[in-house]
Subunit: 325 residues, 2 copies
Amino acid sequence: MRIALDAMGTDTAPSAEVAGAIDALRDVTSQDVEIILVGDEEVVRAELARHDDVPRGIRVHHAPDRVSAEDSPASVIRRKPDSSIVVGLKLHKDGDADGFVSAGPTGAVMASSLFTLRPLPGVDRPPVGTLLPTAGDLSLLLDAGANIGCKPSNLVQFAHLGSTYMRDAMGRENPRVGLLNIGEEPGKGDEVTMETFELLKVDAGLNFIGNIEGRDIVRGDCDVIVCDGFVGNILLKFYESVAGYIVDLLKAELDTVEDSNVDLEHVFRVLDYAEYGGAPLLGLGGVSIICHGGSPPKAIRNALIVAARAIRSGLVKHSAEELLT
Amino acid sequence: MRIALDAMGTDTAPSAEVAGAIDALRDVTSQDVEIILVGDEEVVRAELARHDDVPRGIRVHHAPDRVSAEDSPASVIRRKPDSSIVVGLKLHKDGDADGFVSAGPTGAVMASSLFTLRPLPGVDRPPVGTLLPTAGDLSLLLDAGANIGCKPSNLVQFAHLGSTYMRDAMGRENPRVGLLNIGEEPGKGDEVTMETFELLKVDAGLNFIGNIEGRDIVRGDCDVIVCDGFVGNILLKFYESVAGYIVDLLKAELDTVEDSNVDLEHVFRVLDYAEYGGAPLLGLGGVSIICHGGSPPKAIRNALIVAARAIRSGLVKHSAEELLT
């Protein structure tokens, strides 16, 4: 199995990418994995040379150009055909790689993935998912911001694509699906959520547990949380920032205690998005996973491992089948 | 000034209400305030008798009935005319009280307030606001769940009503207004937010600072955060629960440290909604403030103090003027 990794995506590229790729290959579950670092060959090789323990299975594929946050996402395919994003996705599309991971600008990775890998038959609006830390297991929230103003049929597709992902990439059996709403009872919410509720309720292919409220998210009762990208995006960004805010409050408090030997490492780890392996684009004819621009090596490593699991389990094939049934 | 307090609203009624009213009257800023405890007279007087330091300024007004969470909010006015909610609001409506505070079921307090106090001229959909703790000062989020599927004109009214409240009840000069959206640039969001942005931008009566994202909320850059009640409700409930979740993570961690003398009191206090004096219903011909059903005496006390400030500053008159200009 070969995964194309955009080597020029993070703010510290290609340093985090190279270190993350090396770490991923050291992982026992990844022994049959080859990682193709896509980027300026000279720069990437120079970075590789700084590691004296590069495992077999690392390759470099030259792409001289790089997408920046200033580039209009929709124009990247046309204007930056030699960028690491476009070249990496083309490797996947042409069958020279089985998946793609990038920490480049989110909009550019999304638009380029959509254009290159194309939606699966029947998918109207491919969603982007994000894994949220909860008091239970991780929950997949989707859509996390790609699709604003969704119809009920879109949200039902998100439920199916999210379930397939949680089964294939995260190993969850019979994933529980919740519809994010302003009350638990049927009949709550706006027209779209009310109609979506009725569709999900009678969908035999889903383990639909009903409406969930904002307060239910952190309990971790759902494997998949379905919502419009408008609320999903606001919620996701809020969660990231509020976790940081509360931890800062706490650190300031601990600093007032002399010789405190309280180790906050564990709390930080639970709340650390880097643990969770990126945001998958779902419903496409390929595996494409987006990481934060600020990703450390660990986040890249985890995204590669999730990509490998998604590829190995046949996520794309299962997603296509899920939508046909 | 007289404030009608629903004495039968909290889960511990009338205990929290009586204690909160006594505490509020002890506050120096409240010396001209009279609090009318509205509820079953016998029950309320028995609770008062448990305090041996009841200040002057406490009165009891008999209302034999009580609204429960099972009552349909819209039917309370008709079916429970002798309930503490309906009787208390009627005191306000008839001029025998200048404001109303209740920790009864939110939907019932909202529907009854709307019916009794009526929207101010020109107010299409009166919003409910909530104060959020941030790294800066408190921010008022509105609408927090009363209005789903708002039009741009509704959201613009929320901005005006929220600004007036933050000025009158919270003492903020020239309150900064942000529009909750999925990106900072103009042109982001759905049709409603895009059109709202254009209206707010040219509104000379507002200090509009532009779109704000989910991640900006906790920074506290805004005094007023405007959004549809769908996203507002989900966000608010999420914030409450996630703060509890992170604090729990932390407590568990601190418990593993022997003889820890870390005092988390301060952190809890910052995140404690009870500090902030309830959720105001805005755009009505009166002052109506809703508290959590689980409110401790402190939350009741603070809501009473905020109500007193809103009454004294002329919130209702200013709100009416704000919408005419």
